[in-house]
């Protein structure tokens, strides 16, 4: 394995695989803050050149945290299909990139190869790709899943309705819920981020959602995004939920700081298959985001793109219904501006799909980032072209509980309109029945929340 190269006669030497992976990233403020990023643009390209000639076996043998030390590494390595890995272990990362982009190679063939990949390989190939590479390759990779509705099919663009309220007020939550439904939003999940994280509060919100969803026979999954253990207690006390949620990270230490491990997620999945509202088999909902490991000081000196890919490797074991990166939530010290957020969104979607999980994206930004609504509208268009499974839907993009901005009901409707994509099939039929949609387009009635009180 070679760890050095020259560009225009100048030598570049790298310490190890982890160092090459970190320096091969496109610029991210989080990698700079962690002190692992490239020192110059030329060094960045030199790292990409070195990475391109590594074999998949080099990456398999050198996870960014050793197998013995980290549960996430163990889950990723243990879930690799060894027959498929043996077929491709001598490929270089350069070859993997060109294989994925080859017009003769189908998405199904790539999906098979992906069963032989570790997250370090998934991250490595993303680091060699341009933004358009990530879009084109992403579009090839269809990953579907089924809970009550089927997500991920071609020609469909789903949405998470996020009717949050700053005091968990049920009437306020229902107001935003109705407004969203009237714009055709909610087919991926109707999911509330609660203010208070306790089983009683979680059950109260889940009960309110269930009552409403049953009254109008809405074919959608419901969820209250408290801690997984809180949701499990709520379920044990009789609450009905469509999906079970948890934020996850790419290292064992970061997962520990989130209060979770693999065993807990498996127990949550088993509980849902036993007591959840829907048939499944995909019943888990995960959220991730570049930089979360560094923010919990649990990054082990690895870069944020590789750690993000490891989140997906971890997620894959539990066959989730939906996974989304909350790409601009974490702040400018990890993703500085719109350029970095757009890059991260495209990377995350591609890496998720290559890993084999049904990937969506919360295209978003905080008020201290150098980004605005125009920038995340751009990212929404790019990701829709890349075949992203779903986006968030929030009234006018203003989340009054989490205090950040993301895609609005209007944005989601526009993305469907300009790309001729439709809601998930079961949900589209419901929208037609309610008179909000006809032939895949919003009707004059759409946008009137008082039609479904």
């Amino acid at each position: 394995m070679q760890l050095s190269t020259k560009l225009f006669g100048t030598s570049y030497q790298f310490r190890d695989v982890k160092d090459v992976l970190a320096k091969a990233n496109e610029e991210k403020s989080g990698d700079t803050l962690a002190g692992v990023g490239a020192q110059s643009i030329a060094e960045r390209v030199a790292a990409k050149a070195v990475l391109s000639q590594m074999t998949l076996e080099d990456l398999y043998q050198n996870p960014v945290i050793p197998y013995e030390q980290d549960e996430v590494t163990r889950i990723i390595i243990d879930d690799v299909n060894v027959t498929i890995f043996d077929e491709i272990k001598n490929w270089t990362v350069e070859h993997l990139r060109e294989y994925i982009l080859d017009l003769e190679v189908t998405g199904a063939e790539i999906r098979r190869i992906s069963r032989g990949l570790t997250s370090e390989m998934v991250a490595a190939v993303a680091k060699l790709m341009s933004n358009l590479d990530l879009i084109q390759a992403g579009q090839k990779l269809r990953v579907t899943a089924h809970c009550r509705t089927t997500i991920g099919e071609e020609g469909r663009l789903a949405t998470r309705l996020q009717p949050n309220h700053p005091t968990d007020d049920v009437n306020g939550m229902l107001a935003s819920l109705r407004e969203g439904l009237s714009y055709g939003i909610g087919d991926a999940v109707i999911g509330i981020n609660p203010v208070e994280d306790n089983p009683v509060g979680t059950k109260r919100l889940l009960d309110a959602l269930e009552d409403y969803v049953q009254k109008y026979e809405i074919p959608a999954q419901t969820c209250v995004l408290s801690h997984v253990t809180t949701q499990m207690k709520a379920i044990e006390s009789g609450a009905h939920t469509g999906l079970i949620f948890q934020s996850i990270a790419g290292t064992e230490a970061a997962n520990t700081s989130f209060g979770i491990d693999g065993k807990m997620i498996q127990e949550a999945r088993d509980l849902m298959l036993k007591k959840g509202m829907n048939e499944g088999p995909n019943v888990n909902y995960f959220e991730t985001g570049q930089g979360s490991e560094l923010s919990s000081e649990a990054h082990s000196g690895a870069d944020q793109v590789t750690l993000e890919a490891r989140c997906y490797g971890f997620a894959k074991r539990y066959q989730p219904y939906i996974v989304n990166t909350v790409v601009g939530f974490i702040g400018p010290e990890y993703l500085y501006d719109s350029k970095q957020v757009i890059r991260a969104g495209l990377e995350d979607h591609f890496m998720g799909k290559l890993t084999g999980i049904p990937m969506g994206c919360d295209v978003c930004y905080t008020n201290h980032m150098k980004a605005d609504q125009n920038d995340i509208e751009n990212l929404g268009v790019l990701l829709t072209m890349a075949g992203c499974n779903y986006f968030m839907g929030v009234p006018m993009g203003d989340d009054i509980m989490l205090n950040y901005q993301c895609s609005s009901f209007h944005d989601d409707a526009s993305l469907r309109e300009i790309t001729h994509t439709r809601p998930l099939a079961e949900f589209e039929a419901w929208l037609e029945k309610q008179g909000f949609m006809e032939n895949g387009r919003l009707t004059k009635k759409a946008g009137d929340a008082s039609a479904i009180m």
């Binding site: 403020s29 939550m173 229902l174 905080t366 008020n367 009054i400 205090n403 309109e417």
Partner: protein, 284 residues
């Protein structure tokens, strides 16, 4: 095409025309002074032109501050709704990049220091540098601020200098008076430009006060850049972690008004000094 067909077409065209003339009319506000009305003064107005249940919709608008009932132009927001949203975001962004009003800092007689951060770009990307004073500021502080105070007050701009401009003149005097009335020794107040909360640890190591009370601007929300937080740390030192601080947020006219917050803070200081603990170790 028979007569009935033609009549149907005419009827539907007339119907369409009628609908168009029923397009919503928006309040124009007071244009008497020749100004375009202030879009940010527009409350939660129901813009849906012909709702199925108007009174139920109006109740929904009262139940949440979410931007609902906004209607649409095609699938896009109406112009006024869009501009109001951009205005709300605009003031938030401006606040992040702004500096505290020099006249206010001077009038309060604060000892003015800086963190190691060079500019706002660096402030946003290097939180670590916002937690340490510059070498010049350390020298200045040692010279001008007596060590070992019982309560050392520090003011930092944080993510919104506008929050300091809006609140600090109203909160500092009552807090100082309240602490003096209780007989506490209050140190000479400090202002730190480009400060993060962790600056408390740096100052604590050098001045060794019994506790530090920090006022700092919060990350602005949409349309609200004036919210300030207070962080109270007992015996701050380099190794102090966030869980060892007691925090009070949402101090501004529309939240906990500064004078009221000041009274609550004096009570908190009393508890912290009597229990010799802050954060998770403090019993409230």
């Amino acid at each position: 095409m028979n007569n009935q067909d033609i009549q149907n077409i005419v009827a539907s065209v007339i119907n369409e025309i009628n609908k168009q003339t029923k397009a919503p009319v928006y309040a124009q506000g007071n244009t008497a002074n020749g100004e375009v009305p202030d879009i940010t003064a527009m409350g939660n107005v129901l813009n849906v032109p012909d709702p199925a249940n108007r009174s139920a919709y109006e109740d929904m608008l009262k139940s949440t501050s979410a931007r609902i009932g906004v209607w649409r132009a095609g699938t896009r927001p109406l112009t006024k709704t869009w501009l109001k949203f951009r205005a709300d975001h605009g003031v938030a962004q401006d606040a992040v990049l702004s500096y505290a009003d020099q006249a206010i800092l001077d009038s309060l007689g604060l000892v003015q220091l800086e963190s190691q951060v060079a500019d706002k770009d660096q402030y946003l990307t290097r939180p670590d540098l916002g937690r340490i004073l510059s070498d010049e500021s350390i020298a200045k502080m040692k010279q001008e601020v007596p060590a070992n105070a019982q309560v050392q007050i520090v003011v930092g701009d944080g993510l919104s200098a506008k929050a300091i401009d809006a609140n600090i003149r109203d909160i500092l005097p009552p807090v100082k008076d309240g602490l003096a009335a209780k007989g506490y020794r209050v140190g000479k107040e400090i202002f730190v430009k480009n400060a993060r909360v962790g600056i408390v640890n740096c100052i604590g190591e050098i001045l060794k006060p019994e506790m530090i009370l920090l006022f700092i601007g919060e990350r602005p929300g949409l349309g609200t850049a004036e919210s300030m937080s207070a962080y109270l740390t007992y015996a701050p030192k380099a190794a102090t972690v966030e869980a060892e601080r007691t925090m009070m947020s949402n101090i501004h006219r529309g939240g906990v008004p500064p004078v009221e917050a000041g009274a609550q803070i004096v009570t908190l200081v009393e508890k912290i000094l009597s229990q010799k603990a802050s954060g998770y170790d403090l019993e409230l």
